[in-house]
């Protein structure tokens, strides 16, 4: 080995060592920088997680606080449910009331039309026809008669009928049967349940006295109703009451307007004009 070769080898070793240490120094510097970055990041995260009360920001709620909050929300929920239930009940009450008013409105309309029609004519036949139409169309009567008391014969005689021939309705002696009682004592027979009968065989299911100036002068007797009529309703009773109070008045007004004397209601005077 020559001296030149040895120097060359030493130079190469030195060069290698220099490069090695330089790389090591660079690596160390890089590790230090990375370490510094991570430390900075840790500080940032610590600040985010544990915010200092001194800086005025809220601290995480404790378990007790959370339990109180839940309790408060449950109370609120109970109150809202109670309010909802009350409002729902009120709404149902309003709905029922609206339905009642609608029903009452319909009943009043029927009564208004019946009353209006009853007094819309001064022609005796027309008034009597209106009484029949009210009984058929408003109440659903099928077999019935309109009777007036004849003081001369002491009987109650039919002047109009529907569903049965007038001749088939025999005069009823004063005080006899349901019709006689209605005229004698002013007692109406009105029941919700419909009993279906036949004139001449059965007593009428409904009998309403007809009043004139406080005196009973006749009666409406109903033996049967239309098949679809299941029972009498409140408005039917009102219609019967209306006829009881107004039908005789309307007929008497028509009788007087027709030229009859004003000596008081007389069956003969009414019958001869029909």
């Amino acid at each position: 080995m020559s001296g030149g070769d040895g120097d060359d080898l030493i130079a190469k070793q030195k060069e290698f060592l220099d490069a090695f240490f330089k790389k090591g120094a660079e690596l160390t510097e890089e590790l230090l920088r990375e370490n510094e970055k991570l430390r900075f990041r840790v500080v940032q995260l610590e600040e985010q997680l544990a915010v200092s009360p001194a800086r005025g920001t809220p601290t995480p709620p404790t378990l007790k606080e959370l339990a109180e909050r839940i309790h408060h929300l449950e109370e609120e929920r109970e109150q809202l449910l109670h309010r909802f239930s009350t409002v729902e009940k009120e709404s149902q009450q309003y709905e029922a009331r609206a339905h009642e008013i609608e029903h009452e409105n319909n009943n009043l309309a029927s009564l208004y039309v019946a009353s209006y029609q009853l007094h819309s004519s001064l022609e005796l036949r027309e008034v009597l026809q209106t009484v029949l139409e009210i009984l058929i169309n408003f109440v659903g009567a099928k077999t019935f008669g309109v009777f007036f008391a004849d003081d001369d014969s002491k009987t109650i005689k039919a002047v109009a009928s529907e569903g049965v021939e007038l001749a088939e309705l025999a005069p009823v002696p004063f005080g006899a049967g349901v019709i006689g009682a209605a005229v004698a004592a002013g007692e109406a027979r009105l029941e919700r349940k419909i009993a279906r009968g036949v004139p001449g065989k059965d007593e009428p299911a409904v009998c309403v006295p007809l009043r004139l100036s406080g005196r009973v002068v006749g009666a409406i007797a109903v033996w049967d109703f239309l098949g679809q009529k299941a029972e009498l309703e409140h408005v039917d009773f009102e219609i019967f009451n209306l006829l009881g109070a107004h039908a005789a008045n309307a007929l008497e007004a028509a009788r007087l307007a027709g030229g009859a004397g004003s000596s008081g209601f007389k069956f003969a005077s009414l019958a001869e004009r029909l």
Binding site: Y116, E133, Q228
Partner: protein, 126 residues
């Protein structure tokens, strides 16, 4: 949109009750006729009717004959018809519907029932 109903009923009392019920339908005009012949005259008069309500038992021309005549009339055959009758038997209802009536209501009438049926046939929604 205004519509017009033709109410055919010989009894003024009943007619007024039907009219009273129908007046509660908004924008519905009502024309009245005494019987089938009177109704045909009014139908032929040039006025447009959107619905017809008729009784069955009427003098001169009854409701069933009226339905028949209307259904064979080119101009009015599509008009909805509601029968309002005292006859409650199933066969009466079937006969009226077979002749072309759209609905059958029995007397004594309930106003809400009449109103609901007319609204349904006219496509009126609350």
């Amino acid at each position: 949109m205004a519509r017009t109903a033709l109410v055919v009923e010989d009894s003024p009392t009943m007619r007024q009750l039907i009219v009273f019920a129908l007046k509660r339908i908004k924008d519905l005009e009502i024309v009245e006729a005494d019987d089938g012949v009177d109704a045909l005259k009014k139908l032929a008069g040039g006025q447009k009717f959107d619905i017809l309500l008729t009784d069955i038992n009427m003098p001169i021309m009854d409701g069933l004959k009226l339905v028949k005549r209307v259904r064979t009339d080119e101009q009015h055959k599509a008009i909805p018809i509601v029968i309002i009758s005292t006859e409650g038997a199933a066969e009466d209802r079937q006969r009226a519907l077979a002749l072309g009536a759209n609905a059958y209501i029995t007397k004594p009438i309930q106003a809400p029932q009449v109103i609901a049926k007319v609204k349904e046939l006219l496509g009126i929604k609350d």
